[in-house]
């Protein structure tokens, strides 16, 4: 589905410049359910690391392998810790915006990538909402596909209230 080579999906410099008469309609960040799995992994791994460090501190080098275990535990804990907060902070700095002329994905991966991708609304032919599964229906989030052709387009994942977004896009498409 994500055929980025499709023409209306343009990669631009990270600064968003609004055109004359362009209005902001909707703005969102990814749904919080996106963070649940990484948070679970983080809590599990860092807890194990902290337990190993506490054990190493309490035993005070009584066992021969303790320094090595504590070094590995510290390294693993810190790597997982910074990876997790890098992910969370990057996600928190990422926005999906819909204006009267385009959909813009302002994404950040702190210190690695900063992009401003836009999708011109006048080229969109079909809008699809995918909200399969119990959790997606309970927490009201899903994927929003904007298609230019039968299988060319862009899918936005973890969009809160995707039907509202699809409705807003369809209203603009049908106004043309």
């Amino acid at each position: 589905m994500d055929t980025l080579a499709a023409l209306p999906w343009k990669k631009k410099d990270p600064v968003l410049r609004m055109e004359e008469g362009e209005q902001l309609l909707l703005e969102t960040r990814h749904h919080w359910m996106k963070y649940v799995f990484p948070t679970g992994i983080y809590v599990l791994l860092v807890s194990i690391g902290i337990c190993a460090l506490v054990f190493a501190g309490v035993s005070q080098g009584a066992f021969p392998g303790v320094p090595m275990v504590s070094m590995a535990a510290l390294a693993a804990s810190l790597i997982v810790h910074h990876w997790f907060f890098h992910f969370i902070l990057s996600e928190n700095a990422t926005d999906v915006i819909i204006t009267s002329k385009r959909i813009v994905l302002l994404s950040h991966r702190l210190w690695f990538e900063e992009t401003c991708d836009e999708l011109v609304l006048e080229r969109i032919r079909i809008v699809e909402v995918h909200r399969r599964g119990f959790l997606r229906n309970v927490f009201n989030y899903g994927d929003l596909s904007c298609l230019f052709d039968v299988n060319a387009g862009k899918t936005f994942y973890f969009i809160p209230n995707p039907k509202k977004w699809a409705g807003a896009i369809e209203r603009i498409i049908h106004r043309r």
């Binding site: 968003l16 609004m18 902001l24 703005e27 860092v46 690391g49 902290i50 460090l53 506490v54 190493a56 501190g57 005070q60 080098g61 320094p67 504590s70 070094m71 510290l74 390294a75 804990s77 810190l78 810790h81 910074h82 907060f85 890098h86 969370i88 902070l89 928190n92 700095a93 926005d95 915006i97 302002l106 950040h108 702190l110 210190w111 900063e114």
Partner: protein, 76 residues
């Protein structure tokens, strides 16, 4: 100081630098976004300052916890 103590001190120093760099970049990204939504004259997308501070505090507190838990190894 022995090798283990050097390792722990080094890891904590690196960790502190990573923490500072990430917070700096995140803060700057939020300021840029605030500026964008100010240009759009729409406050909907402005990242709430409280949320931003909450995230930074959570990051700082968990980093400090890992430092505190690992610090006994510095004094073995």
């Amino acid at each position: 100081m022995n090798a283990v103590q050097y390792f722990f001190a080094g890891m904590q120093a690196i960790s502190f630098c990573v923490f500072g760099l990430l917070i700096f970049k995140y803060w700057r990204a939020c300021r840029e976004r605030e500026e964008l939504f100010r240009v759009l004259r729409d406050a909907r997308g402005a990242h709430p300052r409280r949320m931003r501070l909450l995230l930074i505090c959570a990051y700082a507190i968990t980093t400090i916890i890992i430092f505190v838990v690992s610090s006994p190894m510095l004094f073995l």
